[in-house]
């Protein structure tokens, strides 16, 4: 056994899958500890882009800072194109009485000053068509608007319930996000409720992994027990158990899953309940394959020898059969964990997953993103990380499974 474990870690596929899985697991365990956010608390009001988010009301309550930057010139650059600057220069030379050599288009500040000093819309502007005059006037107005550094008034209700100006913020003032009490840095933005996507994602990965693990353990335990008993005991026990297994195999397990989930009220459906439901419907294939393996082991001489040594039936099953199917069972369980995670995501997408007010899973996150049209509003951060996480988890588990397969069945090695 130890030898096989060592060999498994020398298998590149298993190793990559294992490292990937452990990284995801570590992130799911430790990120919620260091994160300053709660997965189910709302910080913003809707989808907010990844980055820093400051609420407008918080701006009102914090001190503005006038940075020592040339704002006017900066704004001029951002508003005017080079063509427009040429038009303005042309106007100044022809009608404003400015020497051409005095104009420097690179020096936005002095250019702006020249314009403000010399432009006059009442200037007769001989030789200019009306349309051109109007174009220059529009340009001037555009500049005035852009350079307007009037204050922004923030209104609030007073004691009588009437709106009054609480504070006004000068237009050239900046807010330092770090000094605002309620500014948040969301590395992956916020979801439709305004909760931090990264915190929610890591918490979801943890819950989803737990659901997959519990479902996989339950499914494997049931399948293993039924397979061992049916295969080893044979006779009518085998007939009965195979009959039950076949019934569960022919009915699509997802339909049973939906029916059971529907029967359990939404408030009672916690993450554990959902994982139990998934586990109870996912055992038939394990049972079938364990049974067929035990059937071939049952007649082996080492089992006969164990019988002749007077060992009891449970002891023979545990010591002479189980170790021989253990490697297969481990592999089957890894696949069941992965399919359990996917089954939860499917159920949650249908709205039959765990109760959304108490817990969050990968499936629930996708469900909300879909319901609040994250796709249409280009809020990729609400669902792309979730999809990537699900893919990575199932990919790593399947990779581990393939690696183990190669260790246990050397013929499969390439």
């Amino acid at each position: 056994m130890l030898r096989q474990i060592k060999e498994a870690f020398r298998n590149p596929k298993f190793l990559v899958g294992f490292i990937l899985f452990v990284l995801l697991l570590l992130m799911a365990i430790f990120y919620p500890m260091i994160s300053m956010y709660e997965p189910l608390t709302y910080y913003a009001t809707s989808f907010e882009k990844p980055g820093t988010y400051v609420n407008i009301l918080d701006i009102a309550n914090s001190e503005g800072v006038k940075l020592n930057v040339d704002t006017a010139a900066g704004r001029l650059d951002s508003v005017l194109t080079d063509d427009q600057k040429e038009t303005m220069k042309d106007w100044l030379v022809r009608f404003g009485g400015v020497e051409e050599s005095a104009i420097d288009l690179e020096d936005s500040e002095s250019f702006l000053k020249l314009w403000q000093d010399n432009y006059d819309s009442k200037n007769p502007q001989k030789g200019l068509r009306t349309a051109d005059k109007k174009a220059v006037a529009r340009l001037d107005k555009q500049l005035t608007t852009a350079l307007n550094s009037d204050s922004i008034d923030i209104a609030g209700k007073n004691e009588e319930g009437e709106l009054e100006v609480v504070k006004s913020i000068p237009g050239d003032h900046f807010i330092n996000a770090g000094s605002v009490g309620n500014s948040y840095t969301f590395p992956l933005g916020t979801d439709n409720f305004g909760a931090d996507v990264l915190t929610k994602l890591t918490s979801s990965i943890r819950v989803s992994l737990r659901i997959g693990l519990v479902a996989g353990l339950i499914g494997t335990a049931i399948g293993l027990t039924i397979g061992l008993l049916a295969g080893f005991l044979g006779g009518w026990v085998d007939n009965f158990l195979t009959f039950v297994t076949n019934i569960f195999t022919v009915i699509p397990s997802f339909v049973i899953l939906v029916l059971i989930s529907n029967a359990v009220s939404a408030s009672a459906r916690g993450a554990t309940m959902v994982s139990v439901i998934i586990g109870l419907t996912s055992w038939p294939w394990t049972a079938r394959s364990v049974r067929s393996q035990v059937l071939s082991l049952r007649g082996r001489d080492h089992v006969n020898l164990s019988k002749l040594s007077g060992h009891s039936m449970p002891r023979i099953i545990l010591q002479d059969i189980l170790p021989y199917v253990a490697s297969y069972v481990v592999m089957a369980m890894i696949l069941q964990i992965s399919s359990g995670i996917l089954a939860e995501a499917q159920l949650s997408m249908l709205g039959l997953g765990p109760n959304t007010s108490t817990t969050t899973t990968l499936g629930i996150m996708m469900n909300w993103a879909q319901q609040y049209s994250a796709m249409q509003s280009n809020s990729w951060w609400a669902f792309v990380p979730v999809v990537i996480s699900i893919t990575l988890i199932t990919f790593s588990l399947n990779l581990m499974n393939t690696g183990l397969d190669q260790v246990f069945n050397p013929q499969l090695r390439d």
Binding site: D301, H302, L305, K307, L308, S309, M313, Q319, D320, P323
Partner: protein, 275 residues
Amino acid sequence: MAEMARELGKSVLKGENITKVFGYGKTRTEAVKKVNFDFHEGEVISIVGESGSGKTTIARMILGLITITEGTLLFNGQPRDISSGKKRKEYWKNIQAVFQDPFSSFNMFNKIDDLLLDCINMTGGKHKSDKEKFDMMTEACSFVNLKYAELTNKYPFELSGGQMQRLMIARIFLLKPKILIADEPTSMVDACSRATILDMLMKLRDEIGMTIIFITHDIGLAYYVSDSVYIMEHGAFVEAGPAEDVIIHPKADYTKRLISDVPKIYGEWDLSTVG
């Protein structure tokens, strides 16, 4: 060279009309058809036949690993009763087996010590001290020319096929059953180990006076070791009797054919009877 017919002890195992049927309907197969036999204390019996003739089925029925469809099996003059786990355990103290393939006879996950300790516990040595158990295991191993000190804490797959089969005999040495069924014990080991293993079994027979039932397809081996020979074809005995009579003066055609199929070192092979 079979020993001269020895004085036969009392009957230990007697089968009357033993029949085994596998499957039902179209797949119904009669593997063993109404066979009768009588095995005596201290006797060495060979059941000879080709593959599929039902030798191993008889062995497994006698061992109680599969049920007998029809017929009665008398053990020590009484009908055998293995209906409960306790009775089975009691029965298996008296009857043991060595199987054909040493590589599949061992549980590869258990250490050799566990296998031998099981035997000591089964024969009521559970309360013996560790020292006594150690001495017993050492004795059993030296009986089959193995060193216990070299085997302890090892797994079966670390041994060669011949060593494994000798370990199986060490197990029988510890259990000291009344009857041993040896199901082709030498067909998977080399010729040298083969002679050693047969000698060990004979030595064991002489020491504890047990009955040995050889299941084999090798009529030469049967002649070499047994007192009585049963020739089996298609689930039934075609000829039975003392080894000298059956092999030197065969009556049934099938026996003659089996004998002529034995490769001879000198002279040409007579293949004319092979049909």
